[in-house]
Amino acid sequence: MTASNSRYDPPANMTDFASIPGQLEAWSDAMSGWVDEMIGQVKQQLPPGAECQFYNLVTNPQPGPFLDQEVIWAGFPKMLRVLYGTEGAFELADNKLYPLTQANDPSRPGFYTGAIWNTLFYRPLDEYCEWRVEKNDAGKIVKVTFTSEPPEYWQALHGDELADVNGVPKYPTIGDPKKVLDLYRELVSPEVTLDDLRCPFDFVDETDPAAPVVVYKKDCYNPYNKWNSTHGIMHLGQPNNSLSAEVGLGALATVIFHGAANDVIVLGEALICAGRLGGPNRTSDPTIASTVNDLARLGAAITLRNPVGLYMDSIDLTGFHDPSGQQVPREFFKVVRGSEQGGLIERAVFEVPKSEGYVVGDITVAGVPIRYGGQIAEHIKVKLVGVGSSIGKYHNASVPAIGQCCVDPSQPLFMRRPSDNAVPCDPTMYHAFAWGGNPQGSIPLPQDHLRAATMKMLATAPRRPRMARYRRR
């Protein structure tokens, strides 16, 4: 519970910036800038006369008492499970890298267009927690490295200009490329060179051929470098996993939305869809958005706690057993960056000390041998921390929903990415939460909407096989 802050500190109060003159201030300016940009966006969405409930901790501190609202979510990507089932999801999460021309969410286009982006890769791990698995010659897992560090931190450490929330370079930093290199050599591989980490030329997005955009300039830090994708892991790389995205979601979620019948939207997934706030199939976005929105509806002043960051909070190793059936100690999950105290973990390694004579792949979880990093990730809680105060101070009116999610019966558990609600869902699909997402709301639906939606779903159900074939043993 923080009262006043003279600046925004680096995530987990990590110390790499400390010895670079002016760097801490530069970082704070960028953080503060993102917060202010988002406040600007929120103001555009609010109805006339409403005040923004999200505030800048440094330039506009608010009075306490403060209530910390930790928001936690499971580290394993829910969308993969929804689309591919548990086994398929585990397999994909460990082994698949997507080129940036392709989205891990099948309902959206790729992130960038152009030949260069076909050669740059990311992991389909979009819950602000990514990992990389290393195996021995026998194919058993020996080490899993987890990270929740945002890419912006590494761009800043390199001294690049950080982008604004729309991706346009805006906030200068000072940086020290040597520190970047040293850390990569220490934590990823001694073979890393600075050239490996930098863009050899401008990386240009040609999605709009008439207006190509330079996303990463020549000689700047390349977050998708091979040591953070195909050959190693240093920080978050899935393009939605950024700190500015966290600030954006935290701020925009203070806007109160209503559906067709003016009922305030409360359920997490419905809120994501209605406000076009992020990924409805994630563990993270719906809980972040609705937890913030719960406070906003109580009229609280809201911000993200300093130091603003994305963290692994903890891991629950209950029932992780060694080959003799004994519980493994928690020291096997070693925190490498950030701090275990207070749950501000940025980098951690799960590994069995050599002296034990067995490897991660010999450990069982609830009797099942570890074959995937995801079996560990699903026991990691990822978090961010909001702060609420002055409950009852604001009485902002709600604004009409701007988005919707459609569901295709062939992917029955998957909500497609929020789309503009002025354009109806494809006739083969149904509009999820068309009733508004408020359990105490009225019913704004055409009479047969729900019936028709269920009929679409049932039409795809497999026919029941006959029982007779089981009788012969």
Partner: protein, 552 residues
């Protein structure tokens, strides 16, 4: 017990013995599947709910004998239809008697479950088509992951080498008839090489019916399976009480606050939960075809240490009462805040400071509360006493757990309308189960007095669901057994959670708030719940028993 006139006024006009209209006609309502209630075992739903229940375990020594025995037993296995019909008859008779229990209306119900090994013996390799990892591995292998510190070898039933092939659950209103039924079933079994390995009786507390041994009303909140019984459009299995003038609430809930859940979460072969709770989701296909109309049965014999529980509550409440913001703390209040309900079942969300037994006993009100918004009155359909909602104070929005702690047992296992670490509110519909537990052992009237039973009391905790991993085990391991999820600022489920996290010495602690937002963190290393037996079973449909398991 006679009801007061005002209680009678609130009685629903429906559920006369053959009434088939169990909800208001709402044109917007989603289409729901027809449930095969003559094929589904009746303890799955609606549940036996009998004062005395025998749990009998068997080992199959002769497969041919077992098949012959099963063929004989099938007609005695109560279907959902029979149990429902009896319930409706019972309610109708009770209503005519002015609220007192009809003493001469009795029934005896039997249901059956099979372990993986039992199914293998009877159905061969198709038993291996069950995909649930927990079912395949069995409870002893999985228990430690849920924080259990006991050695399954010490369990009275279900430990290694002691896993029954068959679990029979027989409940009855009349003890003599019940005993005779169990004896007959057992005798027939043993004649055919199906050997009884264990038997124990579960007893509804005669002093406090419906309450578990710590003293709290149990079985208050249950999800309501969606589905219809006939072609009559409002002939729902789970009756709907909320008036259509309430809007969405009338489509989402049966009793006020009772989430309607697509039946595929509890019984195989039906649509399960999709992303939108008002639209059917996919039919899950995670077992052999003959699993249709069947359900996984989890059985846990959980011993409860009543003395340790109340010793902690008494001591900790006294310590808290000395702190600003907690002056009014008592043992009962502390325990209620850690359960989320008072002893009567009254929810802390609606009555934060004292128990209210009227509220606790009123099924039209005791589950009606939201955490994310203020709860509004809900008019009930055709119930004059509730045409403006129930008469009790309403719950206020409490997303932070300032009133009802986020670590309270009922908030650890059901986050209702607020989000959780699994995303939004999908878990509210998909991570649910049908609880059918009942106490064993005699109650300890004075928790600090002499205990003639030497602590042998607890719950025969039973649940039905279509995924043991994602429902029962998820709740126990990921939510009750972890200190952070589902939502912060929470903590351990002090009441029934078990902390098996390495290095934490089994300590359980949580955050509770005082009247001026002060925080306190009660904590203990003492355990109040001990696994002393249990197992994972499958309760097949009547057809599957007859045509697959009993077939030669």
């Amino acid at each position: 017990m006679m009801n007061t006139p005002s209680d009678l006024l609130r009685q629903p006009p429906k559920f006369d013995a053959m009434q088939r209209h169990t909800g208001p006609k709402i044109p917007q309502a989603p289409a729901e599947p027809r449930l095969a209630i003559n094929d589904i075992q009746g303890n799955i739903f609606p549940g036996f709910n009998k004062p005395t229940t025998y749990f009998t375990a068997f080992r199959i020594d002769s497969v041919a004998g077992a098949k012959a025995w099963l063929a004989e037993v099938v007609p005695f296995i109560s279907t959902a239809e029979e149990v429902l019909a009896f319930r409706r008859l019972y309610s109708a008779r009770r209503k005519r008697l002015g609220g007192s229990k009809p003493p001469d209306l009795v029934d005896t119900n039997t249901n059956i479950g099979f372990s993986q090994e039992g199914l293998r013996k009877l159905a061969g390799t198709s038993a291996d088509e069950f995909q649930d990892e927990a079912f395949r591995l069995g409870l002893p292998e999985r228990a430690a992951h849920m924080g259990d510190s006991t050695s399954p070898r010490d369990w009275v039933i279900g430990g290694p080498g002691n896993i029954p092939d068959i679990l029979l659950i027989t409940g009855g209103d009349d003890e003599d008839i019940l005993r005779a039924r169990v004896a007959a079933l057992t005798e027939e079994a043993e004649k055919r090489g199906v050997v009884k390995t264990w038997e124990e009786v579960g007893l509804v507390r005669r002093d406090l019916p419906g309450h578990e041994h710590f003293g709290f009303d149990d079985g208050v909140s249950q999800p309501g399976p969606r589905g219809t019984l006939s072609d009559i459009p409002d002939d729902y299995f789970t009756p709907r009480y909320i008036d259509s003038s309430q809007g969405v609430e009338s489509l989402l809930y049966g009793l006020p606050g009772q989430d309607l859940v697509w039946p595929g979460e509890f019984v195989f072969g039906y649509p399960s939960q999709g992303p939108d709770p008002l639209v059917a989701g996919p039919v899950k296909n995670t077992g052999p075809a003959w699993a249709a109309n069947g359900s996984y049965l989890t059985f846990n014999r959980l011993r409860q240490d009543v003395k340790a529980f109340w010793t902690f509550m008494t001591k900790t409440a006294a310590e808290l009462a000395a702190k600003p913001g907690f002056e009014e703390m008592t043992a009962d209040k502390l325990a209620a805040h850690l359960v989320g309900r008072w002893k009567s079942g009254a929810p802390v969300a609606r009555t934060p400071n004292t128990d209210d037994s009227h509220l606790g006993n009123d099924q039209y009100a005791n589950n009606h509360f939201f955490y994310g918004s203020d709860t509004k009155k809900a008019a009930l359909h055709g119930m004059p006493g509730y045409s403006n909602g129930d008469p009790y104070p309403d719950a206020k929005s409490d997303p932070l757990g300032l009133t009802c702690p986020l670590a309270a047992h009922i908030r650890k296992v059901n986050t209702r309308d607020v989000s959780n670490d699994q995303g939004g509110t999908h878990a509210t519909y998909a991570i649910r189960l049908l609880r059918r537990g009942m106490p064993f052992g005699l109650p300890l009237k004075d928790p600090f007095g002499h205990d003639p039973e030497h602590g042998n009391r607890g719950l025969m905790w039973v649940s039905y669901q279509t995924s043991i991993v994602n429902q029962f085990e998820f709740l126990r391991a990921n939510w009750m057994g972890d200190s952070k999820p589902p939502r912060m600022p929470g903590g351990d489920d002090m009441i029934v959670g078990l902390n098996g996290r390495p290095g934490e010495e089994r300590e359980r602690t949580c955050t509770i708030f005082g009247s001026g937002l002060q925080t306190a963190a009660p904590s203990t290393k003492q355990q109040w719940i001990f696994q002393t037996g249990g197992g994972y079973f499958f309760s097949p449909s009547i057809t599957a028993i007859r045509e697959v398991l009993a077939a030669g």
